[in-house]
């Protein structure tokens, strides 16, 4: 499965004092003069926060930009669904925040599996992101004095989260989308909607374009460029049920991986503690209830096992506010991985609530008594409404029932400090890359990272690709485009011709269940080994028993799903291999064999303080990969057992 030699990867991180690295690096990066910028063509795939902000910023700089998006309009990218907020080390509340503290919290929150240099840069640019968004007209929440309001998120003891009601992602995305559409209007960006990237085209070792399918006609198209940016989001939908939107998939990064880009820490998955529990077998997705609710909601279960009384009949003394009990200093605001594991522990111990017992309470009774229902409505009105729509329960009167669900993937394509993958000219932004969150992402940091990558990092680092390399002209007539297009046509044809019995969704559900049970909140060697065998069997069956009707020359949603599920099945195999190889617990990766006496994740820094980057080495009944390692060194934040007590 893995070769004995493990090459070391170069992250190209600058050296010197941590707080000067980004500015030093920016100074040392090669520049492209304004007249030359218009000669370079950048292809951006994906229009979430990272893709839209990158496309807008690069077009403003003068680059020629082409954008592909899978939806009917770029404004629908899944960043739109982020609820709670975005972190920024502004220290407006005067509560002791600083760039250094955001850096520290993020490295610690990620359980020491992120690159210090990247995280520091992220914290540095966080303040500029807030400035930029406000200037675009993003309607962040404000105090009566007219200044910006902040709230708290998990893993931090300061209030540094900016928010726009429960729709922060929507407002930030609309800001980036509008900036991008301004450039479309000016003719600096060419936008192609309803396009799905199905392959990466590499010419002489450099990424020079993609093959995409026009989803309404099925036409297979070629796009050539001087650099390719993937901002196609995460792969949480490998679990079938997740908080991700239905279109969110791994195909773009998986195809790039199979063309040579290394995949970093694929098993690092975030299970979000506060989601609406699964209600039935028809369920198509799970809905998140923002972490911000933990500012005011208290998490509890009954003290005694199998207590089926209605929550209002359970007296105070018989309730266990277990997060407040176990973690007195962070209380309900512990990081997500910890809150999720503790909820699972309660349910496993028979103290879960609701009909299935797979839920815990998130109770606003005390907050409503303290602040009044009106104030709570102002803060979380839309979330309460969403909850009521789905469950038919009124959270102003009955505590919410919540349970963890797959939400985010910290893993992704491996990138260096310039956000460049191991394929020159292929840059990866936002959730699609593996970079800044280590083994656990803190709340309100995904929006920050997506926008940091797009607004501030890539505009600086992409210049070194153009100025530092000799890029010959490549057109879509190049044989590499023809070859990649043939591969894509072949795959599409094969999916259509199997003529079996099971739908793509049916395979997907089965895959998701295996992943949730064996590669979810708790992982063990035995479970992972059995999952590996199941997944390989499922892949074999998929290619013999899939049913897709219709043709490739029309809008064909079953065909689209089939291609995505095929890639999810392959990715699942790698996730399981990665989870099996990492015999330590860290952040969201919890190996049952490696825990402290209190049940916390127990890291093994001597053996696993590295990024695992996997190189695809072959297909077959068992796929193969070579492991590359990027050692992680901690110069600023001392490696310690995380404690939120």
């Amino acid at each position: 499965m893995t070769t004995p030699t493990t090459p070391i990867l170069d992250s190209k991180c600058p050296t010197g004092p941590m707080s000067e690295r980004w500015s030093k690096h920016r100074f040392e990066l090669k520049l492209v003069n304004p007249a030359n910028k218009r000669k370079f063509h950048v292809l951006v795939v994906g229009t979430g926060l990272a893709g839209a902000s990158a496309a807008a910023s690069l077009a403003e700089l003068g680059y020629k930009v082409t954008v592909l998006c899978i939806h009917d309009t770029p404004r629908r990218a899944h960043s739109i669904a982020a609820q709670g907020g975005i972190n920024g080390a502004k220290n407006y509340p005067n509560d002791g925040d600083s760039v250094r503290r955001l850096f520290y919290d993020t490295v610690k929150g990620g359980d020491y599996r992120a690159r210090e240099s990247n995280v520091h840069r992220l914290a540095e640019v966080s303040t500029s992101i807030i400035d930029q968004c406000v200037a675009q007209g993003v309607p962040f929440a404000r105090e009566y004095g007219g200044l910006l309001d902040n709230r708290s998120f998990g893993g931090a003891q300061v209030s540094r989260t900016f928010y726009a009601r429960g729709q922060t992602g929507q407002q930030l995305l609309l800001g980036a989308y509008q900036s991008m559409m301004r450039q479309v209007g000016l003719g600096k960006i060419t936008l192609h909607a309803r396009r799905e990237m199905l392959d990466l085209v590499v010419v002489d070792g450099v990424a020079r374009g993609v093959i995409a399918r026009e989803l309404t006609t099925g036409a297979i198209e070629r796009y050539a460029a001087d650099a390719v940016l993937l901002a196609t989001g995460g792969y949480g939908n490998v679990f079938f049920l997740s908080t991700n939107a239905k279109f969110s998939n791994t195909t773009a990064i998986w195809r790039a991986h199979k063309r040579g880009a290394l995949f970093g820490n694929p098993c690092f998955t975030q299970i979000h503690p506060t989601c609406i529990p699964v209600s039935g077998s028809y369920q198509s997705k799970l809905t998140l209830m923002s972490e911000s609710l933990r500012n005011d909601g208290r998490v509890w279960v009954p003290k005694s096992k199998g207590d089926r009384r209605s929550p209002d009949l359970i007296p105070e003394a018989e309730r266990d506010y277990y997060l407040e009990r176990i973690y007195p200093s962070f209380g309900n605001l512990v990081p997500r991985d910890i809150a999720s594991r503790r909820a699972k522990e309660m349910a496993d111990a028979g103290r879960g609530v609701g009909e299935s017992g797979m839920a815990v309470y998130l109770d606003f009774r005390d907050a409503i008594a303290r602040d009044g229902a009106a104030r709570i409505r102002e803060r979380y009105g839309n979330l309460f409404q969403m909850y009521e729509r789905i469950t038919a329960d009124d959270p102003y009167k009955v505590p919410m029932r919540i349970y963890p669900a797959v939400h985010y993937t910290m893993g992704g394509l491996w990138v260096d400090y310039n956000l460049e993958s191991t394929i020159p000219g292929l840059f990866v932004l936002g959730e699609a890359n593996f970079s800044d969150h280590g083994a656990n992402r803190l709340g309100a940091s995904a929006l920050m990272q997506g926008l940091a990558d797009g607004y501030f990092v890539i505009p600086a680092t992409i210049g070194s690709h153009f100025a530092g390399r000799k890029l010959g002209a490549v057109s879509t007539d190049h044989p590499s485009f023809a070859a990649a297009e043939r591969d894509v046509q072949g795959r599409v044809g094969k999916l259509l011709s199997i003529d079996g019995k099971r739908s793509a969704d049916d395979f997907h559900r089965e895959l998701g269940l295996v992943m949730w049970n064996q590669c979810g909140m708790a992982r063990s060697e035995k479970g992972l080994k059995s999952a590996l065998a199941t997944i390989r069997g499922l892949r074999a069956e998929f290619w013999q028993n899939l049913r897709v009707l219709g043709s490739g020359e029309e809008l064909n949603r079953e065909l689209e799903k089939a291609g995505r599920v095929a890639d999810f099945i392959e990715l699942a195999e790698l996730m399981v291999i990665d989870a099996e190889h990492r015999r330590e617990s860290c952040g969201g990766h919890f190996r049952e064999e490696s825990q402290t006496p209190e049940g916390e994740a127990l890291r093994d820094d001597a053996n696993y303080a590295y990024v695992a980057a996997w190189q695809h080495a072959g297909d077959g009944p068992a796929m193969s990969w070579n492991l590359h390692k990027e050692p992680l060194t901690f110069e600023e934040v001392k490696l310690t057992q995380r404690s939120y007590k």
Binding site: H71, D72, P74, D131, G137, R142, T287, A392
Partner: protein
């Protein structure tokens, strides 16, 4: 009825669904029977089950737009029993649940219909006209990297809240589908309001409204007839006040507009 297991037989439904092969083809209703649908599942999950059934029978599934399934991306777009996004107020189709329907009910499902939203296939329509309207002026022209400190622009909370009310638009197009004139004035009014209520939107206030309205007309949307179906259908409860604000802004800008000089950088 909280909790959530399928603890009874479920709903039996008759569906009349609009089928149309592509933009040019003629469309028609097809009738399907569906049995044992849980009242806890969403409307789209009911359609998922219809599609699984069709696939099993060797018939092509129904194409419909959807993505986040939590009412924020604006992809879903059905007219259900004659109402855009169905019977519930302030609820997108993806958040509509089957507990709203009763056993034995007949449901008509159609795409959003408007000249400016051509049908792509079945229930899927093309709403890119909205993007072209935004591209004409639905933004603040500020390049990355140039702004001042975020708190250098204090904004009265009331204005920020009103701007947020308008900015909550998800761009689904239900306002257009619900309007007898297929007007897009609630959509355009919401963006105009969002930006004209904020100090950041002031410098481009006049040219924005003129350009966006010009594009709106060019796309083939109609004019507001003060029927307010748009507000009733809007899943985000965007108020028709925004149309009044659009009219006021447009009138003001028209009265004071001077011919635009051809500018090198555009907006």
């Amino acid at each position: 009825m909280s909790g959530g297991h399928d603890n009874h037989g479920g709903l039996n439904l008759t569906l009349h669904v609009w089928r149309q092969k592509n933009r040019e083809a003629e469309g028609h209703f097809e009738t399907y029977s569906l049995h044992g649908i849980s009242e806890h599942c969403s409307f789209l999950e009911m359609l998922d089950q219809l599609n699984e059934q069709l696939l099993r029978e060797g018939r092509e599934p129904v194409a419909f737009d959807h993505d986040c399934r939590e009412g924020i991306c604006g992809s879903c777009s059905l007219v259900i029993n004659g109402q855009a996004h169905g019977p519930d107020r302030e609820t997108a189709t993806c958040q509509l649940h089957m507990r709203r329907f009763h056993d034995g009910e007949t449901i008509y499902i159609e795409p959003f219909r408007a000249k400016a939203f051509p049908i792509v296939r079945d229930l899927v329509c093309d709403r890119s006209a909205f993007d072209r309207i935004i591209a004409r002026g639905g933004f603040v022209s500020v390049n990355t990297g140039s702004p001042q400190d975020a708190n250098a622009i204090p904004i009265p909370k009331e204005n920020a809240d009103l701007a947020m009310d308008a900015a909550a638009c998800i761009g689904c197009g239900a306002c257009v589908a619900a309007c007898p004139n297929a007007a897009a004035m609630l959509f355009v009014g919401a963006k105009i309001s969002h930006l004209s209520l904020l100090p950041q939107g002031q410098p481009e206030r006049r040219r924005r409204v003129l350009a966006m309205v010009e594009q709106m007309d060019k796309e083939g949307f109609g004019n507001c007839g003060n029927i307010y179906e748009c507000e009733a259908a809007c899943p985000k409860g965007i108020s028709v006040e925004n149309i009044a604000r659009l009219n006021k802004e447009y009138l003001g800008a028209s009265l004071t507009a001077r011919p635009e000089k051809e500018s090198a950088g555009g907006f």
